[in-house]
Structures are given as C-alpha cells and as structure tokens.
Amino acid sequence: MSTAAPAPAARLRRIAGKLLSAVLVLLVAASITFFVQLLLPGDRATVILNIRNGRDQQWPAEEIAAINHQFGFDRPLIVQYLDYLAGLLRGDLGTSYTEFRPVTAVIGAQLLPTVVLTVGALVVAWLIAVTVTLLTVRRGRILGGIGAAFEAFTASLPHYWVGMLLLVAFAVQIPIFPVIGGDTPAGTVLPVLTLAVPLSGFLGQVLREEFHKVLDQPFITTARTRGMSDAAVRLRHALRHAVLPGITLSGWALGALVSGSVIAESIYGRPGIGQVLVTAVNNRDVPTVAGIVLVVAAVYIVANVLVDLAYTLVDPRLRIS
C-alpha cells in the first residue's frame, strides 16, 4: 500500500503530458490539412468557379473577386490560417467548394452509419480472431497450421475483394442479404464482414504469437497442476494476457477500418462519410475532403490516447515510470 501513495500525482502528471502532446499532434494535423489545400494547382477562385459551372475558362475579375471575398482568400495567408484554426475550435471545418454549405453540415448525419460500421467490424473481428485462436493454437501441427494460414491469408485480402466476394456469394448467388442495403440492419451485415475479415487476420496473428508466449509461462503450468481444465486455462489465464497487445493494435486498426469503410460503403451503396468523401474527391471539393480527413485523424489521435491511458490503468508497472 505504501508504494501506491506517490502514484496518483505521477499518474496525473503522466496523463496531463499525454493530453498536451495529443493537442499538439492535433494542431500539426490541422496545419497539414490547411496547407495541403493551398497546393491546389492554379488560382483557387478560378478552380471553384470551374468546378461549380463544370467548365474550364477564364472568369471576369468581379466574379473572381466575389469568390475570393466569400472564401476569404483575399486576406493574408497567416490570417486565413489562424481563422481556420479558430474555426476548428468552434467546430467549423470550412466551406464546401461545391455545396456552398459548411463542411460540418455536409458530413453531419453521415457520421453515425460509418461509426456503426467501424465499431461493429471491430467487435466482429475480435470475435473471429479470439475464436479461431482459442480453437487452433497449440492443437497439433495440422489444426495450428490451418489457423495460422487462415490468418495470414485473410490479413492480406484487400477490402474491395472481400466486399465483392461476399456480395456475389451472399447477395447474388444465395440472396440472403440485400445487394444495396442502405443502413438497415440486414444491409449492415455484409459491409461489417467486409471490414472484419481482413482485420481478424491481423488481430489473430498477434493473438497467436502472444498465446504461444503465454502458454509457456510458469503460471500456466501452475494452473494446470492445480487441475484446471485446458479450456479454463486458455480462457481465464492465457486470453487475458494475450489480449493486451491486441488492444494497442485496435487503436492502430482504426485507420485501416476507416480506409476500408470508404470501400465497403462504395460497394454496398451504404450512406456514410466514405460516400461523401468519394463524391467530394470526384468534385475536387478539397475543403470537404480535408475536413473528413482531419475528423478521422482527430478520432485516431483521441482513440490512441484513450488506449494509452487504459494501459496505464490496467498495467501497474506503467503507473510509476
């Protein structure tokens, strides 16, 4: 108990440090998305007028001036930059080049279906990975080999291929699920699997390696000599230890999940920010693309800080250092 006394202060300092660095990372991420928008070749007002009218031409000076004024391009760069950052604090991601609306309004309602999709896929991927690992690790060469091969194969599958295979198999050949499911529950199954299958391969590879390490630990032998059944040893002791690196990987996997959801939403015609993103890239609506990318980066940064903090709480060794 005496060792626990100095811990809270150190822990608070550690947490504060993490949060501060996360804010800095967010600031740099926002700066990147701001300056990337400046790379748009040619005069931005002309580009916007061209996009809006679907033509490539020279525009009268007054129309250019009107756009420059509307988007604030006539102000010094540093003012635009600070204004962009200040806007972010108020939850303003800028104005869409094509829709005249704030980017937040364009993203708006599309966020929820994507969150449902990615979180659902993460859960399903964990279920598949844990089941396959528990059933096949250290179960002889053949079964273990099959499990490992399954993981290595699924981990290297591109999302678009999984998505199209599932679509052909379970919506066209055996029509259990709808081809275009929208965001209905039945229409969510195949998109979720599209994201979950490759991810389960990644998670499974890590889980398997950890299981191999943990099952050689002395406390496993102790548990076995106490007469604990193999299933109980795996579930109660080994799984707990093997899961930790998987949690870190899950934070990292968010990026892959978002990339995958762009593909899955496109295949299944499912509403979500992936669809908005593809439309915006097609229209060269750079502020909307930059806004979505920044939101995803922010979610990634916050999620990883949370994973990091969860670790500090779970693993007592990290409280002191």
């Binding site: 990372v25 991420a29 052909v168 762009v262 496109s266 890239v281």
Partner: protein
C-alpha cells in the same frame, strides 16, 4: 544417427520451401507479363468479339470475357506492366521521401530529429487511403497522382525504419574508420552508411511493392486512379464492378490476381527477412 538427421535437416533448410517456390514462380510470371506480355498470350487486349460478350470463365477464356467480348485474361496480362510500374513507382517515391526524412532525423539529431519524429507521428494519424484521397482531390486523378498519392500515404512507416537503421549504423566502427581516413561526409554517407542501413530494409521494400499495388488498385476501384478502358488491374476492377451482380468474373478475377500477387510478394518478403536476419546472426 543424430548426426545424420541433423545434417539432412540442414540440407533441407537450404532448399526453399514449396510455398516459396510457388510464390517465386508466380512473381516471375507477373514480371514476365509486365516485360513481354506477347510471350504469354498471342491475343491483343482490344480484340472485340461481340458474339462472345460477357462469357463466363471457360477453357477458352479462363477469366471470361467483358461486355465487348474481349478476353479478360489477355487484358490482365497486358495491364500488368502499368500496375507493376505504379507499384514500383509508389514504393520508390515513399522510399526516397523516407530516406531524406529518416536519414536527416538520425544524422542531425537534436531539434531536427525531434521535429521530424513528431511530424511522422502526426502523419500516422492519417490513414493511408485517406491521405492518398486528399492528394487525389488536390491534383486530380491520373497515373502520376496515383503513384505520388500511394507513395506519400505509405511513407511514414518507412521513414521511421530508415531513421532507426541509420541510428544503428552510424555508430559502427567502419563508419568511424571511414571518417578517420578523411573521407568526405557525403561519400561516407553514400558508400558506407546508406547501403548498410538499407540492406535489412530490402525485405520491407519487397513487401511494400505488393501493398502499393493493393492501395493503387483501391484508388482505381473507387474510380479515382487509372480510368478504364486501360487494362491496368485497378482500372479493370473499376470497369468490372458495374457488372458485379450479373458477370462477377469481371471484377473478381483481376482482384484475384492482385490478391495472389500480394500474397506471393508478402511470402517472399518474409522469407527474405528471415534469411537476412539469419545472416546477420
């Protein structure tokens, strides 16, 4: 007996495993298709045969035919060059950026190192596909944009590895010796430091080519890479997905080739990695 068993197992260890042979064979086939597609198929990729449109896979057309009756396998073979070129180009772009950033961080140290390391940490927050999409949005879809977008999107991981390698190598005795012999810093970097730092990364680069092709084809699949009617693998996906509910082979078969190539390259890269690690020990 044990001596015999051991020596035979050593001999076996030197023989490549069947999986490696298979993977190597497939990659060799793909490279051949890229360099000399005419050797693998006598047909032309634009041969139209409307009486045979949308035919499913058969002995005559192993991958089936498209809406104009063009043989899909022939098109895949003729698209290999561009696909491989994009994969190699993107890997080249990301390695070049990674070497500049990683080596600068490791050699300069101090504030520069902190700045670059932090910047790389931030870039990890941008998922590769989204970073690539942002670049496509700014510059518009094209072959060059695909190469740059995929290259930039996958750069952070490489840069971190290059930095680690250069850090490890720059303290070596032979680098010190080269400096002591009075070689100019640039020459030491080019002749001694870089080759030795990069050698363990050969395997990683091999894996990277497979990944780059997958990312580039994902862009094309979304209609934001190489556009149809090019027979580039991603463009074939883009053209085929419109027929997915009626003629599945048009998108599934080119996808299968990409998957097999990615798996083969990954397996070769892993084997290479083990060999290199074994040699280092």
């Amino acid at each position: 007996m044990t001596v015999l068993a051991r020596s035979s197992s050593v001999a076996l260890g030197r023989l490549p495993r069947p999986g490696t042979v298979l993977a190597g064979g497939f990659v060799a086939l793909v490279v051949l298709a890229a360099v000399a597609p005419g050797l693998l198929t006598s047909d032309t990729p634009t041969q139209i045969d409307l009486t045979n449109a949308l035919a499913p896979p058969s002995w005559e057309h192993p991958f089936g035919t498209d809406e104009a009756g063009r043989d899909l396998l022939t098109r895949v073979i003729h698209g290999t060059g561009l696909s491989l070129g994009i994969g190699l180009g993107a890997t080249g772009v990301s390695m070049a950026l990674a070497i500049v950033l990683g080596a600068a961080a490791a050699l300069a140290g101090g504030v520069v190192d902190t700045l670059i390391t932090r910047l790389l940490e931030v870039t990890f927050a941008f998922p590769s596909l989204l970073a690539a999409l942002l670049i496509v949005a700014v510059f518009g879809p094209s072959v060059t944009t695909s190469i740059v977008a995929v290259g930039v999107g996958s750069m952070p991981g490489y840069a971190r590895m290059v930095r680690g390698q250069v850090l490890a190598v720059k303290e070596s005795g032979y680098i010190e010796a080269a400096h002591a012999l009075g070689h100019r810093p640039w020459r030491v970097f080019r002749q001694h430091l870089l080759p030795n730092a990069m050698r363990p990364l050969v395997a990683v680069v091999t894996l990277g080519v497979g990944q780059s092709i997958v990312w580039a084809s994902s862009l094309a699949f979304l209609g934001l890479g190489v556009p149809p009617p090019s027979p580039e693998w991603g463009a074939l996906l883009d053209a085929g997905r419109g027929y997915i509910t009626t003629s599945w082979w048009l998108a599934i078969m080119p996808g299968l080739v990409i998957v097999l190539f990615a798996v083969a390259v990954t397996s070769l890269g892993r084997t290479l990695q083990q060999r290199l690690e074994g040699a280092a020990r």
